[in-house]
């Protein structure tokens, strides 16, 4: 007896042969393979579409954000309710104080003027106020409001330091207000009447990027408003600061101290929202649900692959027996079925990635957006399909290897 004589190791299955056997096994029933991969296609496609569309939408928000909002800082006077504090926390030189900060382009103080019940905005000195007065708000503002709010004028100009310093009774009105009051030209030096006071209209606004309510209002210099109607009450005064790009955060931190070093607590500063948190918020709100949906699709895909592979194992029991008779070890049978299910998952992942990408690009094209897709997502998605197939095939492949050769050949 020669124990072990001429046993040259174990049976071997080359990787290339394993892969070609897996592909051949998959192509035996192409229609079934397509249907089986469909779950993974949907799951991975949804995954790509959700992440791609979210990234694309977030990038659009970023674009809008950067254009305007990122350069705006708001300051609210919250000290006026305090008995020890002055009625108006913004000093007369508040604009100058803020403008000294590096990165500030312009700043303006403003507040809504509260008119008495008999006071209204009229185009004529006498007579009842027309319908405009109910809608026309009077705003007191410092001259810096115009560059800070990025105002554009249809006619005339905004009031300046001279008007403010010398308490000139001038007003700037929005184009909508001008239309309501019947003012079409400044050549006739028109005036508006607020309560008993007349104000010469020196400018008609055409467009305001930051404070659109100015278009519906009559704006007068703050010094005149203080003299005529007193300091603001109720809502309090506000300041709008226009900054250079990237400076807003820093200026928001410094604004209160610059305005009143002794009482920075009189102001509440509103920095621009962080684009990252904005993007995160969008991602959180929109994508979580859809990612969950994509996850469900993947699970369904995995169950589909597992089910089909299990059925294939049962159908191909005779083939398993034959392969065992031809020298295949249990691990070879496991590897073959696992490779088949993994290949199905990978194909599903690749097709899903393509479909998801097409969806993202199509939606972006329809909306005239720039499609944004993280390359890492594109790399991960097919791997996700592959992992789905691999996990789904584990149990059926293990079962296939456990079928005794004798029993397998009997079927």
């Amino acid at each position: 007896m020669r124990q072990g004589r001429s046993i040259r190791g174990r049976s071997r299955l080359a990787l290339r042969d394993l892969l070609s056997e897996a592909v051949a096994g998959m192509l035996q029933r192409p229609a079934r393979a397509v249907l089986t991969a469909l779950g993974t296609v949907l799951g991975v496609g949804s995954f790509i579409a959700v992440l791609g569309l979210t990234a694309t939408a977030a990038s659009q928000i970023d674009t809008r954000f950067n254009a305007l909002t990122a350069t705006e800082v708001g300051v609210v006077d919250v000290g006026s309710g305090n008995a020890a504090a002055p009625a108006l926390s913004f000093t007369e030189d508040a604009e100058a104080r803020i403008s000294r900060l590096n990165g500030v382009q312009a700043a303006g103080v403003y507040w809504n003027v509260r008119l008495g019940p008999e006071d209204g905005v009229r185009a004529a000195p006498v007579g009842k106020a027309n319908g405009a007065d109910a809608q026309t708000q009077v705003i007191a503002a410092s001259p810096g409001i115009w560059p800070a709010a990025r105002a554009g004028f249809a006619q005339g100009r905004g009031f300046d330091d001279f008007h403010d310093r010398h308490r000139q009774a001038v007003a700037v009105i929005g184009s909508a207000t001008a239309a309501r009051l019947g003012i079409t030209t400044l050549h006739t030096r028109p005036a508006v009447f607020i309560g008993g006071s007349s104000f010469t209209v020196i400018g008609i606004l055409e467009d305001v990027e930051r404070k659109p309510e100015l278009l519906m209002s009559v704006t007068v210099p703050r010094s005149v408003a203080e003299r005529t109607w007193g300091t603001p009450s109720g809502e309090g005064a506000r300041m709008i600061i226009s900054t250079e790009l990237g400076a807003a955060g820093q200026i928001a931190e410094e604004a209160a101290l610059a305005l009143r070093p002794e009482h920075p607590e009189y102001f509440r500063v509103t920095p621009p929202p962080d684009p990252r948190s904005l993007r995160t918020a969008v991602s959180d709100d929109l994508s979580q649900l859809f990612l969950l949906l994509a996850g469900v699709c993947l699970v369904i895909g995995a169950v589909g692959i597992a089910n089909t592979t299990l059925v294939a194992v049962m159908e191909r029991t005779g083939e398993i027996g034959l392969r065992r008779a031809l020298g295949a070890r249990g691990i070879h049978i496991t590897s073959q079925f696992l490779a088949e299910s993994t290949a199905l998952g990978l194909v599903g992942g690749l097709v899903g990635t393509s479909i998801g990408t097409v969806v993202v690009v199509s939606v972006a094209a329809a909306k005239r957006w720039t499609p944004v897709l993280d390359p890492a997502t594109l790399a991960v998605a097919p791997a996700l399909g592959l992992a789905t197939g691999l996990l789904a095939g584990l149990y059926p492949a293990w079962r296939a290897s456990r079928i005794p050769p004798v029993e397998a050949l009997r079927r």
């Binding site: 007896m1 174990r10 051949a24 065992r324 008779a325 031809l326 070890r329 050769p405 050949l409």
Partner: protein, 234 residues
């Protein structure tokens, strides 16, 4: 095959009992020796234990009793992976139901027997083509099993069994699914292989097939009866 006088198959008190209850003695302990180049037929009625004998000889099943030596190698203590390697390299199987993969061509079905031996792809093609030529199917290499007649299918199965150059050809009712004329041609092929020195064991319940063997072993109710042993020839 063994060229040094070592039997290709040597059963030493080999038996197989399926544990019960009740325990089933599929093969009672028996001795059997088949030398290289022998053509042995095993006959017996259905359920007599013929297939059990073939499964043990083909290393598809493990005996619960005794020792089985294949080409002088004691297989009793070998691991499953070593048994698989022996099976792939030293035993060729021919089944009654052919067991051809339906979506593969005749050539690919034959090549399958070398896939687990890590034979390079190019060599596989050459050897498969040569063996198909030998069984007279060189011109049908590209045909799918569904495009082949019963006799041709069995010839492909025989080619697959031969391509790994085994020591032993185990045939389980090789003509069971064939008409008599086709069966005769398959048996003629087996005779030819035998003349070339191949060790062949054929399991059958067909007396005509049994006559092709040099020696016939009978089995009934799991009890093996080897006339040669009774005559003291072995």
């Amino acid at each position: 095959m063994s060229g040094d006088g070592t039997p290709v198959i040597e059963f030493r008190d080999v038996g197989l009992t399926y544990p019960g209850p009740p325990a089933v003695h599929a093969l009672h302990p028996c001795d059997l020796s088949i030398a290289g180049g022998d053509f042995v037929t095993v006959v017996g009625p259905s359920g007599s234990g013929k297939s059990t004998l073939l499964n043990i000889a083909g290393l598809l099943d493990t005996p619960t009793h005794g020792r089985y030596l294949l080409d002088g190698i004691d297989t009793t203590a070998l691991s499953a992976s070593h048994l698989a390697a022996l099976r792939g390299r030293r035993i060729g199987f021919v089944f009654q139901a052919f067991h051809l993969l339906p979506h593969r061509s005749a050539q690919e079905n034959v090549e399958l027997a070398m896939v687990y031996q890590a034979v390079p792809r190019r060599l596989r093609r050459l050897r498969a083509a040569a063996v198909l030529d030998r069984v007279g199917l060189g011109h049908r290499a590209a045909a799918l099993p569904t495009q082949l007649s019963g006799g041709e299918r069995q010839r492909v199965a025989i080619a697959r069994a031969l391509v790994a150059e085994p020591s032993l050809l185990l045939c389980d009712e090789p003509t069971g699914n064939l008409d008599s004329a086709t069966a005769a041609s398959v048996l003629a092929l087996l005779d030819e292989l035998h003349r070339d020195g191949m060790t062949i064991v054929v399991i059958t319940h067909d007396a005509e097939v049994a006559r092709h063997g040099q020696r016939t072993v009978t089995i009934r109710d799991g009890v093996l009866s080897d006339p040669a042993r009774h005559r003291g020839e072995l």
